[in-house]
Amino acid sequence: MLVRGGRTQSVASVVASALIAVVVAITTPEGAPTAARLAAFGVAVMAVAVTVGSPRLVGVATVPILGSALIVVAAPGEPAWVTATLVGVLWYVAAELAWDAFERRDGIERTRAFTDRRVLEVSSVVLLALLTTAAAFALSGVAPVRTLFVLAGAVVALAYVLGAATSHLRRRSATDAGAE
């Protein structure tokens, strides 16, 4: 339960998801209140998930939260890149905070290095997401969106292959050094 530990993270995750609901409510076009209601439902599910400490329920809350944002950004008019970026990043942070809170509830002591490394990992994902979105937004002015998707897929696949190859080589050289 909330009192067991990770109280700050629990509250922060609910606040972050509530912020998403606020963003969705502000940007919801008139005549489409479904998005705001869906977002409110998502926040309620998140609050329940945090209270009972269920990581799966956080995953379930992703559907109404991202669904509501999708309804907002799908509305005819100007592309809502900022809203999508904000909601995407906020929800990722909220989910990470909730999971972190659940892990803290076991009462196990954590080293400073552990907390620092987790913060670094989450912040690097957020930073990369912002950079990627900014780059995609800049490129969308010069190329069709679908072409960008194909290119992005190719870049991600290439990056993955390169990363896997690098880690394989590093492991092999470490094994060789150990054998010598």
Binding site: A84, G153, A159
Partner: protein
């Protein structure tokens, strides 16, 4: 160890696939933007994951500790990256009754540096005995926490937790001593420190023995006689029979604490100390000296089990065979089990010098009962026990009560007083 996907992987995969599909099929780049953090988490997490199983080993830094010390459990993790969570789950006997186990679990969450790391957790040793440190549960979470390895490490060797022994200022003075130099004053006459008597000088007496004052007064040579200091053989007779309705572990714990203190003090006074534990099993350690004997005795005491044994054993035979003649037998017992009380009569009957330290047991039944019934029960109980003490005194066995929390020296002083009184009564 078993590798499992975490909830992060499920959510990240679902969000990424859904976002990409909606973006491509509906031509909505915002859907992909919404899922971008999850897609990046997926890419970074998979790229940094290791498929090799981490290797783990658990070590305990000590074999023996004293109650109140910390036991350090070190877990070494190799061939891994990410984070390690270590949780010790000691056997139930490790904790004192009423201890909050969850808040005292030795556990830690740390980062694995450069593929291998060691995590050290501290377990407080609160209860005497030989304890299994228990299962050590290890979880290795890969970077970005998409995958988690979990498993339990091999049980390390058990740890012996010694009770805290109190430094005793006085020892039980034995009635019989051995012909070996020690610290107990003998009634015999010989070379020693304590003055005994004077007698006329005879040929062969040392000049040092001459009592010059008496010699000057009488004009003839007189020498002083002294009591020599001798060692004795001490047998610690420990009662580990179980009697229901009492905090058995606390009572036996008291007896063991007293036994360790007495063994330590008598061994440092050059006495030979042995142990006879009578309960569900009969354990015998023959008398010996030196530090190794203390370790042997302590190990035997720590291995003491509590048994509700109903069979009558042929203890007379055992006692007649094992106890060295004319030894000092110090019984440590709550005086609850009639079989042990019978043993005391038998030992005294064999001509041993017997002293009893009675570990006072908490009386649950009487304490929980209120009113007249409780008071009557208390009085009956006290009267019954007094009968046992009196009948032991009639056989020359002094009994001194030892209440938990009281220093053993107080009990030993009382025991010495009662032994003198009992001896006088027996002689009369």
């Amino acid at each position: 160890m078993i590798r499992r996907a975490t909830e992060r992987l499920v959510v990240a995969s679902g969000a990424t696939v859904a976002g990409a599909l909606i973006a491509v099929l509906a031509g909505m780049p915002e859907a992909a933007v919404l899922a971008t953090p999850w897609a990046l988490l997926l890419v970074l997490g998979i790229a940094r994951s290791r498929r090799e199983e981490p290797t783990t080993a658990v070590e305990v830094d000590v074999e023996r500790v004293v109650v109140g010390d910390e036991i350090e459990v070190t877990t070494r993790v190799a061939d891994a990256s990410g984070y390690v969570k270590v949780q010790c789950d000691p056997s139930p006997g490790f904790w004192r009754p009423g201890d909050d186990k969850s808040s005292r679990l030795a556990s830690l969450h740390d980062v694995i540096a450069s593929g291998a790391d060691s995590v050290t957790c501290s377990l407080p040793a609160t209860q005497w005995g030989t304890h299994d440190v228990g299962r050590v549960v290890i979880e290795v979470t890969e970077p970005h926490a998409l995958f988690r390895w979990s498993g339990a490490a091999e049980r390390p060797a058990p740890v012996r937790v010694h009770p805290t022994s109190s430094q005793l200022r006085q020892l039980i003075a034995p009635r019989f001593v051995r012909q070996v130099t020690g610290t107990h004053e003998s009634k015999a006459v010989g070379r020693g420190v304590e003055y005994a008597d004077i007698r006329p000088y005879s040929q062969g007496d040392s000049l040092r023995q001459i009592n010059w004052r008496v010699t000057a007064r009488t004009g003839e040579l007189w020498v002083s006689e002294r009591h020599p200091d001798r060692a004795t053989e001490v047998i610690l007779l420990v009662d580990s029979f179980v009697e229901s309705g009492h905090d058995v572990r606390a009572v036996v714990g008291m007896a063991i604490e007293a036994a360790v203190s007495l063994a330590q003090s008598h061994l440092s006074s050059a006495d030979r100390v042995g142990l006879l534990e009578i309960g569900g099993t009969v354990r015998w350690i023959s008398p010996g000296t030196s530090h190794i004997q203390l370790q042997r005795l302590t190990d035997a005491l720590l291995a003491t089990g509590l048994y509700a044994h109903v069979a009558d054993r042929q203890l007379d035979l055992v006692l007649a065979r094992v106890l060295p003649p004319r030894s000092l037998v110090v019984a440590l017992t709550p005086l609850l089990d009639h079989r042990f009380i019978d043993v005391l009569f038998v030992v005294a009957g064999h001509g041993h010098d017997v002293a009893v330290i009675e570990a006072i047991a908490p009386r649950k039944v009487a304490d929980s009962t209120t009113g007249d019934v409780g008071r009557v029960a208390n009085r009956l109980w006290d009267a019954e026990r007094q009968v046992v003490r009196d009948s032991l005194a009639d056989h020359g066995v002094a009994v001194a009560p030892w209440v938990s929390g009281e220093h053993l020296d107080v009990t030993l002083r009382e025991l010495a007083r009662r032994r003198q009184r009992t001896m006088r009564a027996v002689i009369r």
